[in-house]
Amino acid sequence: MKVKGRNVLLTVMTLCLSLLFLFTIQPSHSITTTTAYAADNSLQRVKARGKIVMATSPDYPPYEFQVSKNGKSEVVGMDVDIMKQVAKDLGVKLVVKSMSFSNVLVAVETGKADVAMSGINPTPERRQSVDFSEIYYNGGQSFLINKTDAGKYTSKASLAHKIIGAQTGTLQYNLAKSKIPGAQVKGMDKNTDLVLALKTHKIDALGIETPSAEAYVKNDPDLKMIKSGYSLNKNDTGSAMALKKGSGTLVAAINKSITKIKAKGLPNQYLAQAGKYMKVNTHNTSMFHYWTYFAKGIEYTLLISAISVIFGVLLGTILALMRFSKSKIFHAISIAYVEFVRGTPLMVQVMFVYFGIGIVVNLPALLSGIIAVSLNSGAYVEEIIRGGINSVDKGQTEASASLGLAKTDTMRFVVLPQALKNIWPALGNEFVSLVKESSIVSIIGVTDLIYQLNIVRADTYRGVMPVFVAMIIYFVMTFILTRVLNYFEGRMKHAK
């Protein structure tokens, strides 16, 4: 009997897993098939929609970065200005979508954005997965070093066997790996973190595009820029826009626009403009100056956590009831779900919901984040509720049954109310931990506290202070929440 139940469970689990795999593999097929069958209508689609969506990682001044304009945070920079011009030429509006750099190409591949523009170098590897426009700017490669090391590091050769930092997944990263003998390359997702690593001597030099390097040097007297000295094919090092494979018509239209823009010498004009933004921006780097950013972040973090905990409780209850159901299938699905969700990182789940499910229905980042965190929380809440149900004395169920009450009524009127009361503290803890864990949604560009923190860091060129402020904010939030929950818990114990 027991063994048989196990087998059913295993079968269902394998089934669920293989379904998931199929689901994840499916998209790439469907993309190729749609491009094979349907004629390229990328340009038509953008024009029909009246807007073009650009994915970017706004932590790369002067290409793209965040500033506050009249108290509102906005993505600016050369890339944005160029894209604005392109949009104008196409006769559509520009929508900028922020996310981490490692996600911008995925966003294009999965249709979350029409164009990825984030100082991207059109390397041969990348050309295999996306189409590129013509190069719109060629900034060249440099290194940032600490001014104190100016005598030690003067060229690429002097960096041999040193620790070189670079953004993960960038040309700089690959160049440092392949062209500097014996170099140990350290990859991070954000240039702001890399600059901090440089200043704290965790790395010796930072491989970075020249315009960015110049921006940092201008804003930080402790840094110095040296030329990279790489001999490079110009075609592989300039910046280009990435588009989904098979967007020939859109690429052609964009290229036309780029040619015009370059002919007018606009990129350099835009760079100068970006520099001005940065000057205004670095004028006041006090954390108080950025309180609206942090406030917005708190608002989103609390919003995501609160909504997710509500849906998590709903889902968790359903899963727990399935677990207790007589149906072997329901029982097994519930176990499989909980095991699977608990066995995979929230970060991967967030990305899966945003990019994976996003292929079928285009979900906005905030909604994706809430869905992913809710789905994740449901699995944990299921365990809490199951514990709560088990904690209700068996005599209660028997008394209820002896009165002729149906199983569902027994659950609804007798067991669940008592279970929920028992698990109130555990649910409160789940809420508090969601406040902390939901921080992961910043990777898909949800403007929660972590996201805002990164903006402030990129914005102020201050690595540590914003982190410290965010840490204090998180602590104050969880501390207050815990007190409030304790208060209600006490009240629930007295009154009923």
Binding site: G395, Q396, E398, A399, A401, S402, L403, L405, Q418, K496
Partner: protein, 249 residues
């Protein structure tokens, strides 16, 4: 008194895994009868009661309710069986999340589909009957043991059962509260309620019971009138047990 049995138990057997708890139980309960069941701890008295209202499924044998095999009951018939055969537990098992009144109203409303007003009227009447009408709106955990058990009896009565099962209704009570519960039970018996009562309250058994059944080792070893059972037990095991409980009292 009509002489068709209300409940008949035939060769009832109940195992939990490898443990044979009930080996072979036979017995008949006539309408209006009060049967007391006595026996050492672990002899299967609770299990026997729970097989009567199908809280436990018998391993083999039959429990007939009005001549019908309860094991073949549909979900609906099972609900009807439990409506007609109430149960009172040693540990009361009142629902702590509901007030006394709500405890009484829940089953009539959900099972009998009674209106809220009717259920409330009925509940208040029953609370009055067990002398607890002023406790209608309190939560169970503010009741004393004796009060809680009287509420539990009222809750069972709210379904208008023809028969009540009591599983050691007074053994979790402080001695000074036993009397108030037994008084309620006595009244019920006088009103003609059919009852199967697991109890070692000899006084109650002698005064109220028609028959006393002695259970041990998974069998009913002796069935007798209360006076015979307590004063002149036949089976040596019964003798031994009776002398022990008399010694204790």
């Amino acid at each position: 008194m009509p002489n068709k049995p209300l409940v008949e138990v035939k060769k009832l057997k109940k195992n939990y895994g490898d443990t044979e708890v009930l080996k072979e139980i036979d017995g008949t309960v006539m309408p209006g009868q009060v049967i007391c069941v006595i026996g050492p701890s672990g002899s299967g008295k609770s299990t026997f009661l729970r097989c009567l209202n199908m809280l436990e499924k018998p391993t083999s044998g039959q429990v007939l309710f009005e001549g019908k095999d309860t094991q073949k009951f549909s979900e609906e018939e099972l609900t009807t069986l439990r409506e007609r055969m109430g149960m009172v537990f040693q540990s009361f098992n009142l629902f702590p999340n509901l007030t006394v009144l709500e405890n009484l109203k829940l089953a009539p409303i959900r099972v009998k589909k009674m209106s809220d007003k009717d259920a409330e009227e009925k509940a208040l009447g029953l609370l009055k009957r067990v002398g607890l009408d002023e406790k209608a709106n309190v939560y169970p955990d503010s009741l004393s043991g004796g009060q809680a058990q009287r509420v539990a009896i009222a809750r069972a009565l709210a379904m208008d059962p023809e028969m009540l099962l009591f599983d050691e209704p007074t053994s979790a009570l402080d001695p000074e509260m036993v009397g108030e519960v037994l008084a309620v039970m006595k009244e019920l018996a006088e009103d003609g309620m059919t009852m199967v009562v697991v109890t070692h309250e000899m006084g109650f058994a002698k005064e109220v019971a028609n028959d006393v059944w002695f259970m041990a080792d998974g069998y009913i070893l002796e069935k007798n009138t209360p006076n015979e059972m307590f004063d002149h037990p036949k089976n040596p095991r019964t003798k031994d047990f009776i002398s022990k409980i008399i010694g204790n009292v």
